[in-house]
Amino acid sequence: DATADLKQFLSSTHSLQAQFNQTVTGKGKAQNSSGTVAIAIPGKFHWEYQKPYQQLIVGDGQQVWLYDPDLKQATVKDMGNALESSPAAILAGDSGWERNYTLRTLADKDNMTWLEATPKRADSSFEVVRLGFANGQIAQMDLLDKFGQTTQIRFSQITRNPKLDASLFHFTPPKDADVVHQ
C-alpha cells in the first residue's frame, strides 16, 4: 500500500530529478506553473519555477532560499518551516515523516496508490498533503491549504538516484539582489 510505497521510496531514493507541473485551484482562475526539481535526501532540494515566471527555491540542508529574479529579491529562512516553501522539502525530508505527520493510506485512484499526510503541527500552512505513487515512484502531490486552495503537482521524466552536482543545492544571491535574513 501507499505507506509501504513511501517507506520503500524514501529508503531506496538518495536523489531524484524531475519535471513538475503545478496547478493551483480553489479561488477564481486556476494558476498553472511548471519547472524542474532536483532533490538530495536528506534535506537538499532545488525547486525551480520556469513558467510563467522564474522563481527559485533552494534548500541547502540548513536553510531555504527563495529568489525571484524579476523582483531581484531573495529571502532566506531556517530549514525548520521549510514545508511552507516547497513540497520538495517533504520529499527531501529525512525519516521525520512519522514525527511530523499522521499517515493514512487512501483508496487507489487514477492508477496510483495514495497516502494522506496530516501535519501534526496546528500552525502548519497545509491542512493535508496527499502523495500519489505509480509503481513505487512518486508521481503526484496534492496540497490543501486552509483557505480552500488546492495545489496539485504532477512529476514527470523522473530520474531516480542521478548523480547531481552539489552546486545545485547552494544558492549565492546575485550582486544586484537584496537579501535579508528572516
Binding site: 515566471y53 524579476d70 523582483l71 486552509k146 483557505f147 486552495q149 535579508v180
Partner: protein, 165 residues
C-alpha cells in the same frame, strides 16, 4: 501638476495575479498574490510560491477583514495596519488598490505625470513608478510592474496576469 480626473469606472471586476516583495532595512518579504477589485470591495490574497494562502485581506471604504493561516479572523477600520499587525507585511494596501492600476488614490492629493515607461505618482509620502502596460479595454492601460518607495520601505510588484470582466 493637477490630478487628472479618474476615468469613469465600469462596474466590472479586475483580477491581478503576480508577485510582491517588500524591502525594509531589517526584513524582506516575498510572496505571490492574487488581487481582486470590483470597484466597491478589494481582496488581496498573499500566498507562498506553492499556492498555499498566507493571508486573505478584504476591504472596502469602511472596514477591513483579515483571515490568517490559522484561520483567525480579525476586523479593523483600515487594511494597512491590520495586515501589518497580523502578518508583519508592511504594504500600503489602501493606496496600492489604485497604484496597481497606474492611478492615484482619490482619497488624498497626488502629483501624477506620464513617463516614458508609464506613470510617476507622488502621494501620501510615496513615490510610485509603473511600467510595462497591458491594454485592458474599459480599464485603460494597466501596468505590469509597480515600484513604490517611502523612506526606507520599497514595495515591488510584478503582475504576471491581468483579468478583467
Amino acid at each position: 501638476c493637477a490630478t487628472p480626473p479618474a476615468p469613469p469606472r465600469s462596474a466590472g471586476e479586475l483580477v491581478a495575479t503576480g508577485r510582491v516583495a517588500v524591502k525594509l532595512p531589517s526584513e524582506n518579504n516575498l510572496a505571490n498574490f492574487t488581487w481582486r477589485d470590483d470597484g466597491k470591495q478589494a481582496q488581496l490574497d498573499l500566498s507562498s510560491p506553492l499556492g498555499n494562502t498566507v493571508a486573505e485581506l478584504t476591504f472596502d471604504g469602511r472596514e477591513a477583514h483579515l483571515r490568517d493561516q490559522a484561520g483567525k479572523e480579525t476586523v479593523a477600520a483600515t487594511p494597512d495596519d491590520l495586515l501589518k499587525d497580523r502578518t508583519g507585511w508592511e504594504l500600503p494596501v489602501g493606496g496600492l488598490r489604485y497604484w496597481i492600476q497606474g492611478k492615484p488614490d482619490p482619497a488624498s492629493p497626488a502629483a501624477v505625470r506620464d513617463t516614458e515607461q508609464g506613470r510617476h505618482i507622488e502621494q501620501a509620502g510615496w513615490e510610485i513608478d509603473t511600467s510595462g502596460h497591458v491594454d485592458a479595454g474599459a480599464f485603460g492601460k494597466l501596468p505590469k510592474r509597480i515600484e513604490a518607495t517611502r523612506a526606507t520601505v520599497t514595495v515591488t510588484i510584478v503582475v504576471t496576469d491581468w483579468q478583467w470582466q
